[in-house]
Symmetry: C2
Amino acid sequence: MELLKIGFQGVKGAFSEQALYNFFQEKVEIVAVKTFEDICLSLDNNLIEYGVLPIENSSTGAITDVYDLINKYDCYIVGETHVKVNHNLMGINGCNLEDIKEVYSHPQAFEQSKDFLKNYNWKLVPYYNTAKSAEYIMKKNSKNIAAIGSTKAAQIYNLNILASNINSNNQNTTRFIILGKKLETNPHCNKISVVLSTEHRAGALYNVLKHFAENNINMLKIESRPIGHTPWEYNFYIDFEGNIENETIKKALLHMEKDCHHFKILGNYKQVDKK
Amino acid sequence: MELLKIGFQGVKGAFSEQALYNFFQEKVEIVAVKTFEDICLSLDNNLIEYGVLPIENSSTGAITDVYDLINKYDCYIVGETHVKVNHNLMGINGCNLEDIKEVYSHPQAFEQSKDFLKNYNWKLVPYYNTAKSAEYIMKKNSKNIAAIGSTKAAQIYNLNILASNINSNNQNTTRFIILGKKLETNPHCNKISVVLSTEHRAGALYNVLKHFAENNINMLKIESRPIGHTPWEYNFYIDFEGNIENETIKKALLHMEKDCHHFKILGNYKQVDKK
């Protein structure tokens, strides 16, 4: 039997890879791609059945490139999963805190670890992602540089952890979405995502949102993103509770669509249980 | 007479500096600071009277760090200005396109110039900001590296422009806000910004937004940002048309405040005229 092909962005040890293992419990074939957009392109070209992308971090907010991609490409959210993101400072064997001159990591990791980093006078060098930063430190083999990333990245790239859990917020969590080629649903799906744009006049967005309130639908999140070539007009990404087979939901979606310029159902999936 | 002290983030040639000159037509004393947060700290410590910060780009969206800062610090938006952002590829004297191996710039500039960059196989190195990237290329004095930034940065750091206006969207514009220490208003102010959070239940956000619709107030923008230590709860930043001395607006603001957990008026200022 052929295994399902699942894509993630990054190199071994990336938080996306961990998200993939969280969601897909069965045995799958893993395809690592270079960029977020490569996930959508790989779906388009049937190189993978599903792809995993980070959409939001609990401390730093939306991963806006991914919001733009799911509107642009003909793909659908079929699931979500959370990964607790703990950052660690790591260096090669023999490296101590006082040796460090430069630290490599993704800018979001610097941001999420800023209270720890404030105590040192290190040059922070923004790099592609946390796992690639760890790989770079291993290759350079210098005591004067360190990386910030996961314990898994430290293991894979054979680095020592010099300070663990350096993120300011110990609840730091990234939400990942699982993208597929088709809109899927089943009776367990209890979260719906849509993207829409409205006319640019007083009350237009409110007119769309009223369908949530009137039907007692719980809106979970609203995110706004600029529309490509029209300055200061926005697409709104809205997550809410429900199943698209439910009659009330169906009616609300129809009404919303009528009140919008652009309207697309992005997916129906099972929400990660809240604590 | 002492000149007003105005802060901006970056080095000479930064787009923020240009925004400052757009807004303050009179002669002012300019104070360059290192980080966005330094603007708020300088206001707090009376080192500057006003500060200029980028809040939103028409192609890439919200500058989320700045949204978080204006909620955290006791400062107010007293004005806004737009700067057309055109990117240029620049190198030292004698550098040609075929010499280039690496390009330095802010990640947003790469994102905004991605259609141009797709045609080349250059390594893109994320750097602090566009002006600092130009400064770095000047200092390194190598034909194998180039920077992306403004024509002003090219002039200041004595670099040649190898390709001009390489941004994919020729309407690419950044909106800057002017921050002061007090809530200011005058009869010309026609835009209000607030930040608020609501209870986490069905219809809570809608209950707040209904005050805009009921009073025929034109909502211009809604932006959501995570609340620091509570995963998946949000602050909403809302811009709308009006003057805080207007009676309808006053009434709507009072009602909104009652329906919110957290509510802060961020400023009342004159909106940049739309085309």
